[in-house]
């Protein structure tokens, strides 16, 4: 009986000591905030478009840090998802279609002769990329436009178009070579079979 009590007593004592140590460590090494948010935020495209359902990129970064799915960002597309997956060491998942689809890079363009100068788009623009004053024609600073679409909805005369940014000789980039899989001669027999199945 005594040994049983002793054993229990010792274990309880041990647990208490360790508990105290952990309690102290918790206070001593307390982490303020979540620095991971900054890193997530840095990966997001900063269009501030709100398509993820959050008012801006940082709130979404916070939400991701708190466990929201990483595939709610259509402007960033698969590349952003991949980067987030790498950072957070989770599986890269396809973009959630509910939040929109990945489109080519676009900028807003105001059809200036139709603009009535209501300033509504200016208020909607999250990055102050629209220039103009009340009852004056507005225009978009194309270099600053993130293509977030937010100015299109408020426009009372629907004079804002989202125009795709085309590829010019200056912005053109080389294609990735097709790689081995695309060529017909596969030296590994199983690879050939896998291809035949597809």
């Amino acid at each position: 009986m005594l040994t049983v009590l002793l054993a229990i007593g010792i274990l309880v004592l041990l647990s208490l000591i360790f508990g105290a140590i952990l309690g102290y460590a918790n206070v001593r090494f307390h982490v303020e905030g979540d620095p991971i948010v900054d890193q997530i935020d840095a990966l997001l495209p900063q269009t501030q478009c709100g398509q993820c359902g959050h008012p801006g990129c940082r709130p979404y970064a916070e939400a991701i840090a708190n466990g929201e799915a990483i595939n709610h960002c259509p402007p960033g597309g698969q590349a952003t998802i991949q980067a987030l997956a790498d950072l957070l060491d989770v599986e890269a998942i396809p973009l959630d279609g509910d939040h929109g689809t990945e489109t080519a890079k676009r900028v807003a363009v105001i059809r200036e002769d139709e603009c009535i100068g209501c300033t509504k788009c200016i208020q909607a623009c999250p990055v102050d990329a629209i220039l103009g004053a009340a009852k004056q024609m507005h225009t978009v600073i194309a270099d600053e436009c993130t293509g977030c679409d937010l100015c299109v909805e408020p426009c009372p005369v629907d004079c804002i178009d989202m125009v795709e940014v085309g590829v010019t000789a200056k912005t053109w980039s080389w294609d990735k070579p097709q790689g081995i899989a695309a060529t017909s001669i596969n030296i590994i027999a199983t690879d050939r079979q896998a291809e035949a199945v597809h």
């Binding site: 040994t3 002793l6 054993a7 010792i10 274990l11 004592l13 041990l14 647990s15 360790f18 140590i21 952990l22 460590a25 918790n26 090494f29 307390h30 982490v31 979540d34 620095p35 991971i36 890193q39 950072l87 957070l88 060491d89 081995i180 590994i188 199983t190 690879d191 896998a194």
Partner: protein, 193 residues
């Protein structure tokens, strides 16, 4: 002094915990995808292993033995290890948030890393003294880190290599680990403890 050196050589190479004794295979396969991650894991494990072998030695010698409660060693060692891991987790969280994030579930999983408990139990069965216990734990950790980093460096290259489809992913990882284990057999009889 030679004895201490021998302990280190033995634990790092000859009786490597991962490739010879096959302990701690879970993080060995799980956290070896990226070199950076594996280095972080190696460091965390080194810290935990050394500290826990020290703590478990102290617990055993000064608490369990005097009361004749040696049969409580497993449960109390698990307690010790859990505390050390928790402690490490807090420290890592504070000092390196990214490592904390990257290690993710594997950090708390060190608790269940059989290498950690294995070291503590082997310390007892080998009747290691205070310094020997620490060295034994440290050596085991260095051996673990060594093969983990080696393995992850290899896996990084294997990941982008043209591996036959059927062998892609974990399969080729297992084969590589097996080959590594074979290689480590070469160290057998280098030192005998």
């Amino acid at each position: 002094m030679t004895e201490y050196l021998l302990i280190l050589v033995s634990t790092i190479l000859v009786n490597n915990f991962v490739l010879v004794q096959f302990l701690g295979l879970c993080p060995f396969m799980g956290v070896s995808g990226k070199l950076e991650t594996s280095i972080g894991m190696a460091m965390a494990t080194t810290f935990v292993l050394t500290l826990s072998s020290l703590c478990s030695y102290l617990t055993y010698t000064y608490i369990l033995q005097p009361f004749g409660l040696e049969y409580l060693q497993t449960i109390s060692f698990i307690l010790v290890i859990a505390v050390v891991v928790q402690f490490t987790e807090m420290v890592v969280h504070k000092t390196s948030p990214l490592l904390y994030r990257v290690l993710g579930i594997f950090l708390p999983l060190i608790t269940t890393n059989c290498a950690v408990l294995g070291v503590a139990l082997q310390n007892i069965s080998k009747q290691n003294g205070f310094v020997e216990s620490i060295l034994y734990g440290f050596g085991a950790a260095v051996g673990f880190s060594f093969v983990l980093v080696l393995f992850s460096a290899m896996r990084e290259r294997i990941n982008v290599a043209d591996v036959p489809t059927v062998f892609k992913g974990s399969a080729i990882g297992m084969i590589t680990a097996g080959l590594m284990a074979l290689a480590f057999m070469g160290f057998t009889a280098l030192v005998q403890i």
